[in-house]
């Protein structure tokens, strides 16, 4: 099972309600997977700095004075915004790799959830309603976002095994399904220098797309080649700094429903997740085709880019 929701706004007047709408959608999907939940929000741009979202099992100790200490190590000004077990650091551009290395030394129990100019990822073990409440996701605004509620199959129920996964700047991915060639692909990608933190199959899917894009592929092209290179069942929803994409494997047994209006593009594992969206009665509602890449971007004119793989 697992439940996925996604929302890509075309009409930015809805931006202040993004967190609220995503939370409502995700809670509706609770019975598809009660193990853990997570939300990726593309919020305000950090103006060149890298937003690094961290998680700690001991936030009080780990986050105390963290920005200052890290800043001293980096020789740069770092700021932090704590939110329950997570904190978002603003690290000046060009310092991310040094920050990652320093964090591993000065705060070994801290985990990096995401990095990017817009992306923040909040995820924990527990029900969607509890996870959303502890981070106050409802109050967050943004241009697009993705949520996931997990029924674990391929790796343990932990915070790090929760979705969404972030493996490159402003990239995130959620998954319903299971990949069967993730072990061999993980070894290959690690040899190529891609950082993969867990034994989870989905993280390998995310890392695969990152690797493709590092080598010059667009997100659309990376998604298309995933149909060749990933073995198993998947419905993926991916986010980038300005885009939002969907792809299903050729068997397409993992459910997916999409809706599009002048205001937004929405994704749900089930139609139930979409019923409270504004104007859903008149939306174009359809099931994404198997082995077909769908992609929307704020860079292009807001139209569907559909391409049979």
């Amino acid at each position: 099972m697992c439940g996925i929701v996604g929302l890509f706004l075309k009409d930015q007047s809805l931006a202040p309600q993004l967190g609220n709408m995503l939370t409502d959608m995700l809670i509706t999907m609770t019975d598809r997977g009660p193990d853990s939940a997570g939300i990726a929000i593309y919020g305000e741009e950090s103006g060149g700095a890298t937003k690094v979202t961290l998680q700690s099992p001991n936030p009080k100790e780990d986050f105390a004075g963290l920005a200052e200490e890290l800043g001293q190590h980096l020789g740069a000004v770092v700021s932090q915004t704590d939110n329950d077990t997570h904190t978002v650091l603003d690290v000046p551009a060009g310092h991310f790799e040094a920050a990652r290395a320093t964090l591993a030394e000065i705060r070994p129990s801290v985990q990096i959830m995401s990095r990017g100019e817009m992306l923040e990822i909040y995820k924990e073990v527990g029900l969607p309603k509890d996870v959303a409440a502890r981070f106050d996701i409802s109050s967050m605004s943004g241009t697009h976002g993705i949520g996931h509620t997990r029924m674990a199959t391929e790796s343990a129920v932990t915070t790090m095994g929760a979705h969404p996964f972030n493996t490159g700047p402003d990239q995130c991915l959620v998954h319903n399904g299971s990949l069967s060639n993730h072990n061999s692909l993980r070894r290959k990608l690690r040899r190529e220098g891609v950082v993969i933190q867990t034994e989870n199959d989905t993280e390998v899917g995310a890392a695969y797309l990152t690797w493709k894009m590092m080598n010059g592929a667009s997100l659309g092209e990376a998604l298309e080649s995933s149909l060749e290179d990933l073995d198993g069942f998947f419905t993926f929803v991916v986010g980038t700094k300005d885009g939002f994409g969907v792809v299903r494997d050729p068997i397409a047994c993992k459910p997916a429903v999409m809706a599009e209006t002048d205001q937004y593009v929405a994704f749900g594992s089930e139609y139930r997740a979409l019923v409270n969206l504004p104007g859903i009665e008149d939306a174009r509602v359809w099931e994404p085709e198997p082995a077909t890449v769908y992609f929307w971007s704020h860079n292009d004119s807001p139209t569907t880019t559909e391409k049979a793989a």
């Binding site: 397409a252 047994c253 459910p255 429903v257 089930e270 139609y271 139930r272 997740a273 509602v285």
Partner: protein, 227 residues
Amino acid sequence: MQTYDLEANGLRGLNATLQSQSTETNQTSWEVVNPKGSHAIAVGLDAPIEVTVKGSTGYYCAGMNQQATIKVEGSVGPGVAENMMSGQVIVDGDASQYAGATGKGGLLVIKGNASSRCGISMKGIDIVVHGDIGHMSAFMAQAGNLVVCGDAGDALGDSLYEARLFVRGSVKSLGADCVEKEMRPEHLEILKDLLDRAGADSSPEEFKRYGSARQLYNFDVDNAATY
């Protein structure tokens, strides 16, 4: 006309109420409002009643139906009219995966498109899709008729037994042991009847018939009457 508000009164109450209607009921007409994509709406009915669902549904709508006529004014999720025995299920919009799976009787009409695995393992149900159907439709279909006024996806009728498949548009590919067959007068008659009952305005002559080549399973002509 009885109206049931699903959001206010819950799913169990709806199905218990509809299932308890006897064949002699006077309350023959029901309307379900606020379905909001809920699962298992109007399942296990066994009375000649008419149920209209005012909106889209989730999984397994109208499953195991006997006698009832269930109309959905919206789209349906996976497994609509699964294992139908008799009666009618009419969907105004689209249907997700495995519509009409394992059905033994009755008529399922989908006025939009059906996605993958439509009519999988059908055992006597008649299915009429006004639009297209997805891949692996009529997989291991044993008996009944699948009528598609649009196009069919990949691997139509894979490992087919004795179900009849009628497709008006293109077939992306045929599955193992499924072949095009001659359209004889009796088939045109069956097709005409189904198209009429499903409110489809296509002409039977525009269709092609597909069926089993009978190479994959132990077909014996002496048993033909069983199907």
